[in-house]
Amino acid sequence: MIAQAIRLTARKSRELLGIRLSYRTQRYVFIYLVLAFPLLYFLGTRLLPILYAFNVSVREWDLLSQEKPYVGFANFTALFEDEVFRKSIVNTLIYVAVGVPGQLAVGLAVALLLHNVRRFRGLFRTIYFIPYVTSAVAVSWVFRWILMRNGWLNETLLGLGLEPQLFLQSPRQAIYLVILTIIWQSIGFQMLVFLTGLEGVPRMYYDAAAIDGAGPWRRFRHVTLPLLNPVIVFSVVIGAISYLQTFGQVLSMTNGEPLNSTRTIVLHVYALAFQRFQMGSAAAATVILFVMILALTLLQFKLVRRKVEY
């Protein structure tokens, strides 16, 4: 009915270059004109480069020579035989395995606490969010300064009668400290995500559970957690994809040291490409990373299917 009305009225406005267009045509012209450039853009800057990367990964490609011969999977096998690369895969998985639950726990905890209080909510929310809008590089240097051998943290530990720690100089501790820095920066965002989720839980579920005699802890486990499931899945998957690509913080805080204990896949890619100029190997490493991310995203779709409904 509306469509009919539109067709019948004001034909003048639907002229293009003097040619009168039907309503439907004008609509399609508009839609495709608007979408044309963005689509081309995405194809050119997202899709094409991936194919290009696949191409580079199966060639011996360094920036200095003209020849870029096809070498099949040689780059890939070389990578897997490289001890340092294998270590960076393991490290990267540690980043994910520790970082994702870590930031989830902290974000959820803060969100729960905030949900629990009535006053100053806005103030707390603002303060907790500040680290998220700051530059990761700058933040990394600040933490590096705090964690120095005679930096603030060690001096405070000494003052408390405890042993000063090696922190970023220790092959065992360093990676966890980098992860801690990343978690610290993400608290605000995680908190916001979970706050939004918490606010979506209808009060009547809590009331019903309370009437049934459930205390706070059981209410949390059996009402809050299941209903937060989609939010948790969202946080986990986005977080995992993000941790898989850790780069800036590692570069600033430790550059992969000590003894490659903090090295990540992307850091290795960066070294291969821009310090050793081995583009082929670097591209191969990004392909491996891509496969890991793809696997994770598909896992998300599977997980979300198992939605919990009450």
Binding site: I2, R27, F30, T45, I50, V142, R219, F234, I293
Partner: protein
């Protein structure tokens, strides 16, 4: 307190998990948490005002404070250029993102057409392929096309963002279609409808996207690091890394912290001013 039989121990308003004591504990923990969150920034700022002899002092407020460090970093490194570059690039990015993401979001929200789901899928999939993966091909392509070490080289990956498209689409979906149809009946063409009716109605979303994009562009690190070669052309995060890595002795940490402060404070200030829009933008985008 009245004596009621089998009354649920959930208060009529406020927190779902009850007790007064619980609330108090929450306040305490939250306040302690803010200290943890704020302290690194305070320490960074404090250090930036220190004199070299106070390097290892643990006081939050230095015995003698000086602005000299700030003057010094502007002499030692092209911080003015870095700030200028960062701001310029951020402004350009914000403009292109707002223009394109809003239009695409509008079309995706308010129209149905052949190929819509395919296009939608394409845009979703770009979210799955994040920057760190694309830097190698981008670098190779950019170098070949002569974009290396240029503003355009830094800009081109960020002109249109899938995130922004989603944000605008979410917001636009709640626009009443009847309004748009009424305009169509009145004879306004599609461009006019979008520009004069739809877009003014989504100003809050545009504000949110503007701020978020500005902040994100300012903090961009990996790609600018790779594409920029000349020191004067660096953006602030790249400059900070470069500046901090060059300094060798312990007293330089004061300068490093000063540099860090210069790169962080503007954004904190921006955030404090626009926090409502920023938080709303993120909350909006979280609803998938």
């Amino acid at each position: 307190m009245s004596t009621q039989i089998a009354a649920p121990r959930v208060p009529a308003r406020g927190s779902p998990s009850g007790s007064r004591l619980g609330s108090l504990a929450s306040y305490v923990v939250l306040t302690l948490g803010t200290l943890v969150v704020i302290f690194p920034f305070l320490w960074m700022i404090a250090t930036s005002f220190k004199l070299p002899q106070d390097l290892y002092s643990l006081r939050l407020i230095p015995a003698t404070a000086t602005f000299g460090n700030y003057a010094e970093i502007f002499e030692k490194a092209p911080f003015f250029s870095w700030i200028g570059n960062t701001v310029l690039l951020a402004l350009i990015t914000v403009t292109t993102v707002i223009v394109f993401d809003t239009m695409v979001g509008y079309v995706l929200a308010k129209f149905s057409f052949v190929g819509k789901s395919v296009i939608f899928l394409l845009i979703i999939s770009t979210l799955m392929v994040p920057t760190e993966m694309l830097i190698i091909p981008w670098y190779l392509i950019a170098t070949e096309l002569g974009w290396s070490d240029t503003y355009w080289g830094v800009l081109f990956p960020g002109i249109i963002t899938a995130f922004g498209i989603f944000l605008m689409r979410q917001f636009m979906e709640s626009l009443p279609s009847e309004l748009l149809d009424a305009a169509r009946i009145d004879g306004l063409n599609e461009w006019g409808i979008m520009a004069r009716i739809a877009i003014p109605l989504v100003k809050p979303a545009i504000a949110a996207l503007t701020i978020l994009t500005f902040i994100s562009s300012w903090n961009q690190f990996t790609w600018p690091l790779i594409v920029l070669q000349t020191e004067e052309r660096f953006t602030i995060p790249v400059g900070i890394l470069y500046f901090s890595s060059e300094l060798k002795d312990s007293a330089s940490w004061i300068l490093i912290m000063t540099g860090a402060t210069v790169s962080i404070l503007p954004l904190i200030a921006l955030f404090l001013v626009f926090q409502k829009q920023i938080i709303r933008g993120i909350a909006l985008s979280g609803m998938k």
